[in-house]
Amino acid sequence: MSDTQWPRYEVFKQDNPQKPHEAVGSVHAPDAELALQNGRDVFVRRPSAVSLWVVKASNIFTMTREELEATPDFWPKVSKAAGTPTTFHLFTKTSQRRSMTFVRHAGQIEAVTPELALRDAIENGRFDADNVWVWWVVADEFIHRSQADDIDSLFAPAVDKTYRQQSHYGFVSPRRQKHGREKLDADERR
């Protein structure tokens, strides 16, 4: 079946200003602004966030370590590119073992093409390339970002949402109930 869907956007969430943006999943949308809204609805229902980025999936250049190793002719080809340098953002996944390891924003680099940005990233030592399993490279112009004055409308509701924390429900074991608190709602006693 051919893919007749709206474009897919990858969503990057920043939990707090000290943390990098992390790829949390994707949404489909007719444009970047609605991708941002959809990304907010799907990925910031409960968790805290201060910023979202969305990037159309077709604008992300991706390489896994396995693909790099399986493509020995990758480097000679890209070395021929020439043109005006632009800013590329590098995202990396640096562990294989824990399930909560995301592709994270790792920094930026000036280059002519995403391939060259990746080569520079691997060669210049800033990105700890030996420990990178997945590389994503995105030109700055392709990143659509939430704005600072959107924080209240996009992210504040999740922070104040009632019942968002499972710790709200401490009272769960009937065998420990004797030591628990009674908090049956008055109108449920009827």
């Binding site: 007749t4 399986a70 499972q166 074991s173 009937p174 009827r190």
Partner: protein, 331 residues
Amino acid sequence: MIEQTLEVDDKLAEFEARIARGEKIEPGDWMPDEYRRQLIRMISQHAHSEVVGMLPEGAWIPHAPSLRRKMVLMAKVQDEAGHGQYLYHAAETLGATREELLDALHTGKAKYASIFNYPTLTWADVAWIGWLVDGAAIKNQTMLAQASYGPYSRAMVRICAEETFHYKQGKEMIVHYASSGTPEQKAMVQDGLNRWWPPTLMMFGPHDSESTNSEILMRWGIKTKSNDELRQEFINEEVPEIQALGLEIPDPDLHFDEDSGSWIIGPIDWDEFWQVVRGNGPMNAERLAARQEAHENGRWVREAMAALYYKFVTDNYSKVSKAIGLSPERN
């Protein structure tokens, strides 16, 4: 030809070695076709289950006994919708499209958790779904959070954290009604247990000896425990909790086995299980109709978004129209 086969054998050996080392397989990495096929099958069934799972509980939102319970239930049902989205995304990383997955659901081709083909007759059923159904789902999902496919395991970690809230809110209600409720509430809770206990045990799937997919799923690190192992863990954890409330589990054969330290259950009615899987459960037709209707009721939203898309990409309009099922000549 022989060289090709050898190459695939080498790749398969390296793939299995990576899994043995505990590495995650990521989109773009080489994987056997069967690994991809099994994952799309599992993840999409799981996504459909989250989406259809909104129906039995959503029906009770207008009838919640208090504002607090209503807000909790709304938050929970909203979570299930979000879980469906996480999972459709994970399936898409394997090359499936959302369109074909939804098509399969709406035409009745796709399977989803059979448990949602049972009706929610009383408010206690909402509570039992939280405790038993979400409890059983957490058992499975906690295991799948370790799965060898990166995007699936990451979706599972997020889902498990939220399912724990679902489990706790359900259990909290049952504990309240069974220990401090009126005689009618106690009877309602026992009645719900009688109906939800048997299909909950079926949620873990056929016995290991009958499960056709288990072996390959375990070999490739998608599952790390068998159906029967997970079912037994669940039974051992929940039976004492339920009995502590003075409730009677509807299984005359249920007994504690000192030697194994396990609660042993009587036979599971697999005929009923397969009947429901094949579409003959009490609510199969209604669930499917509700999903089709919901999709149809969302048409105006898709039209509005298409109109926006049209503004920017006029020359792609026929493609957009096709994507959302509009007639191409409409303006």
